[in-house]
Amino acid sequence: MPPKKKADFAAAFAELEKISEWFETEEVDLDEGLKKFERGLELATDCKKKLTEVENKVEEIKKKFSDLANE
């Protein structure tokens, strides 16, 4: 499953972690390993790219919270 959008950094990172764990714990089969390796590098590149480009977005909630408490 390729990462769709910025919000999916967590998903991409989790997939990368899983692949990395696979390499550490499994008997690596060359064919499957190559496939996973390619996917892993792709994820790593995506993740790093996202880290450089994104900034945080602050949205002010337009509500009077003291009124909300008593509703």
């Binding site: 390499f23 590098l41 880290l51 945080n56 977005k57 909630i61």
Partner: protein, 395 residues
């Protein structure tokens, strides 16, 4: 002159008091003594004025007064005074109590802390962990507080891509408690998909009085009841608040809250590089191992073929040797057969002086085949002759 019944008189007094005091804005200050709660509902205490040796009897319910009280506390009370007809007693019907001075606040804080702790609100086992990479954070603080700027600055330094939903609330003063409660209600009331991954409740440091909203029982319970994990950061390093103890994560300062809630970019980059590096190493060592394996396979295969081709050569040469013998045997047999066949050729017999007699094309082997007067043909080695049978002799 009017004559009034006692009950009517007291009603008149109470009505007069109520009318004359409702507009008045004052609180009565004194020290609590003889504090009692009966049937878990009714609170009664005396408000004493040591200096002037004066006592005001007070009455309230546990639903009106949430502040923990005990004897010796200095407080200010707000309420309506009245004479209770049945006992002829003058009492203040208290609607609000405010603690006065650091000592009373400290004491009330300790009492409430003990109560909430006994109820299990601080239980470490119920604390939830935060997602490592939050997408959305609910920030509950005042936009005018230094905490707001500190938190966002550190957040931006460390990490990006987060949506911060800011609920602007009062962090001190009269509106602080209701607005903080409202913010918790708002975030927890959102549809699951719109809820932040974590809430951050924060403000800068201050005295017990400034922090009262963060030590409020209802706020502590709202933190406790939140279905979204809560990070609480109140004050400076040494400050503590009840909201801190209840929160899932207790951060020491607003900046620390940002550190606790998002990871550091450079650390994550390092981690990603470590992971890709390890994958590459594993892959290369696999390829290496396969290369070695392939090498040795090729060598084994070559060796196999060398050995096999030796064997094949041997088989072929054996075959050739054997076939030579076989062929010469065959030749001998053919020659002997040829000799035999040749020896049977009638011409060869005729050449030795024998003759062949035929009658009507048939070879005559027995005299019985002939009768006197028959014409016969005699074949010699060279040429032939016709003859007549003149006489037969039985053998």
């Amino acid at each position: 002159m009017h004559v009034l019944q006692v009950k009517d008189f007291l009603e008149l007094i109470n009505e007069t008091l109520r009318l004359s005091l409702t507009q008045a804005d004052f609180m009565v200050e004194g020290e609590i003594s003889d504090y009692r709660v009966s049937q878990n509902k009714w609170i009664s205490f005396d408000l004493k004025d040591e200096e002037n040796q004066a006592i005001l009897k007070c009455f309230a319910t546990v639903w009106q007064i949430k502040t923990p009280l005990e004897d010796g506390m200095k407080v200010q009370v707000k309420g309506v005074p009245k004479i209770y007809e049945r006992y002829g007693q003058f009492k203040m019907n208290v609607s609000a109590v405010e603690l006065v001075g650091e000592g009373a606040l400290r004491r009330a804080y300790e009492l409430l802390k003990k109560k909430l702790e006994a109820e299990g609100l601080f239980d470490p086992s119920r604390k939830r962990s935060l997602p490592r990479f939050p997408n959305r954070i609910g920030l509950i603080t005042s936009r005018d507080a230094a905490a707001y700027g500190d938190f966002l600055q550190i957040l931006n330094n460390r990490w990006g891509g987060v949506r911060v939903n800011h609920a602007h609330v009062q962090v001190q003063g009269r509106d602080a408690v209701p607005s903080i409660l409202g913010a918790f209600k708002y975030f927890n009331g959102l549809a699951k998909k719109d809820q932040p991954d974590a809430l951050v409740l924060t403000r800068g440091g201050g005295g017990l009085e400034d922090l009262h909203a963060f030590n409020d029982e209802d706020v502590a319970r709202a933190v406790y009841a939140s279905s979204i994990p809560v990070v609480c950061a109140v004050g400076h390093e040494r400050d503590e608040s009840l909201a801190d103890f209840v929160a899932d994560v207790r951060a020491s300062t607003p900046s620390n809250a940002a550190e606790r809630i998002v990871p550091n970019r450079s650390e994550v980059v390092y981690e990603i590089e470590m992971m890709s590096g390890r994958m590459e190493d594993q892959m290369l060592s696999q390829i290496n191992a396969h290369e070695i394996e392939l090498d040795s396979s090729v060598r084994t295969l070559l060796h196999f073929f060398e050995r096999k081709s030796g064997e094949v050569r041997q088989v072929v040469s054996n075959l050739l040797v054997r076939s030579d013998a076989w062929v010469s045997r065959l030749r001998e047999r053919i020659e002997s057969r040829t000799r035999l066949i040749k020896s049977l050729d009638p011409k060869r017999v005729l050449e030795r002086g024998y003759s062949l007699v035929t009658s009507s094309g048939k070879v005559v082997k027995d005299v019985k085949q002939l009768d006197a007067g028959d014409k016969i043909k005699v074949q010699f080695a060279k040429g032939s002759a016709d003859a007549d049978v003149t006489k037969k002799y039985a053998s």
